[in-house]
């Protein structure tokens, strides 16, 4: 059996890295197409609840996003720990939510206004009172389509 060659003396052949850029570019393009740049600074604590029956929002450009939660980070000292509503880039008081939401609505292109959806992104820790007030406000300006934004996951983890 002396016909087997022993490799002991020679070095391992170098692996060609010529296709490495191609692989990396494929990864790059994948990430570029899959993700959307988050252009909005969320100024409140925002852990969304889990749900199993959530439907995907098909479009994003007819959404009015409302964040609700306690202020986070350094703002706690300034604003306290009461839950706040963030609409667009600023905090709004409860009695101004309706007008601010209308403003957002009218900044949309006209053909999208009929299908506008208010997506409520509320923190799990908040109480329903603020949501009920918000819904009243939205009803008063006839923004009736709402969406409670959730994360896909086991719904009973919420209540544990």
């Amino acid at each position: 059996m002396s016909s087997f060659k022993t490799n002991r003396g020679s070095k391992l052949p170098a692996i060609s890295t010529a296709s490495l850029p191609d692989i990396v570019f494929i990864l790059l393009f994948f990430f570029m197409t899959v993700v959307t740049i988050n252009d909005q600074q969320v100024m409140v604590q925002n852990t969304l609840p889990n749900a199993t029956e959530a439907e995907r929002l098909t479009k994003k450009d007819n959404n009015i996003e409302v964040f609700i939660g306690t202020p986070k980070g350094a703002q706690v000292a300034l604003l306290g720990k009461a839950p706040r509503i963030q609409l667009g880039k600023t905090f709004v008081a409860m009695d101004q939510v309706a007008s601010s939401a209308l403003e957002e609505l009218y900044s949309m292109p006209e053909h999208l206004r009929n299908s506008a959806v208010v997506s409520i992104k509320a923190d799990t820790s908040i109480k329903m009172g603020i949501i009920l007030d918000l819904k009243e406000q939205l009803r008063s300006v006839n923004l009736l389509k709402i969406n409670y934004t959730t994360v896909q996951g086991d719904v009973f983890q919420n209540i544990e």
């Binding site: 890295t17 490495l20 850029p21 990396v24 570019f25 990864l27 790059l28 990430f31 570029m32 899959v34 993700v35 959307t36 740049i37 988050n38 969304l48 609840p49 749900a51 199993t52 029956e53 959530a54 439907e55 995907r56 929002l57 098909t58 479009k59 994003k60 959404n63 959806v117 997506s119 509320a122 923190d123 799990t124 820790s125 908040i126 109480k127 329903m128 009172g129 949501i131 009920l132 819904k135 939205l138 009803r139 008063s140 006839n142 923004l143 009736l144 389509k145 709402i146 969406n147 409670y148 934004t149 959730t150 994360v151 896909q152 719904v155 009973f156 919420n158 209540i159």
Partner: protein, 201 residues
């Protein structure tokens, strides 16, 4: 001076590094969007013209108190049993006019899925996550029943059909085909989830 060998070759060895830098930049600056949620419709502000009288047996009352406990049809219930209870109520078919129901046909429960209404009430102090859990279970009850009927009639899940129908990228020919099907299933089990005035104490 004429060039004999053509253009000199550009060294592409650092291409991988540049691509990696771009890749890492995109990885860091982006977040995958969580744009899924429970769709709801608020009642319009003006009250309906006529007061409709609804039989008590056609209403399934769900009350959430401030501690997150559930009172369903005047009985304390665990959240995990809510979906089955809601399905039993919707699928009851008490007056025998519903030929696709598979419920117990209990005369003291709902007459027909098209008449059955789920009424959800909550306290101002109820936690949002509890509320979402309840909403999810109630929507889940409707979806389970609709899936069952869609499987029976069209051999696929209603949730799939609806998602495909709502997706703007679906070709319009397929959408036109799906529209009556989705409508038909929705009419079999219309989602009547009312959130009337909430208690303030």
């Amino acid at each position: 001076m004429p060039r004999r060998k053509g253009a000199p070759e550009v060294n592409a060895g650092s291409m991988a590094d540049i691509a990696f830098l771009l890749l890492i930049f995109f990885l860091v600056t982006t977040t995958i969007e969580t744009d899924a949620g429970l769709d709801r419709m608020l009642p319009p502000i003006e009250p309906p013209d006529t007061d409709v009288v609804i039989k008590q047996k056609n209403i399934f009352t769900v009350n959430i108190n401030r501690n997150g406990q559930l009172l369903v049809e005047e009985e304390l219930m665990d959240l995990r049993n809510l979906r089955d209870a809601a399905i039993a109520f919707l699928d009851n078919g008490g007056d025998g006019t519903c030929n696709y129901c598979r419920g117990r046909k209990n005369a003291s429960s709902s007459d027909n899925p098209t008449k059955a209404i789920i009424s959800l009430k909550n306290d101002r102090e109820t936690k949002y996550k509890t509320y979402i859990t309840v909403q999810n279970e109630l929507v889940g009850a409707y979806n389970d029943l609709r899936n069952r009927e869609a499987q029976r009639l069209f051999g696929r899940d209603f949730v799939d059909m609806e998602a495909e129908f709502l997706n703007p990228e679906t070709p319009s020919a397929i959408r036109d085909d799906l529209k009556p099907k989705v409508k038909r299933i929705q009419d079999l089990f219309p989602q009547k989830l009312s959130e009337a005035e909430t208690s303030s104490n």
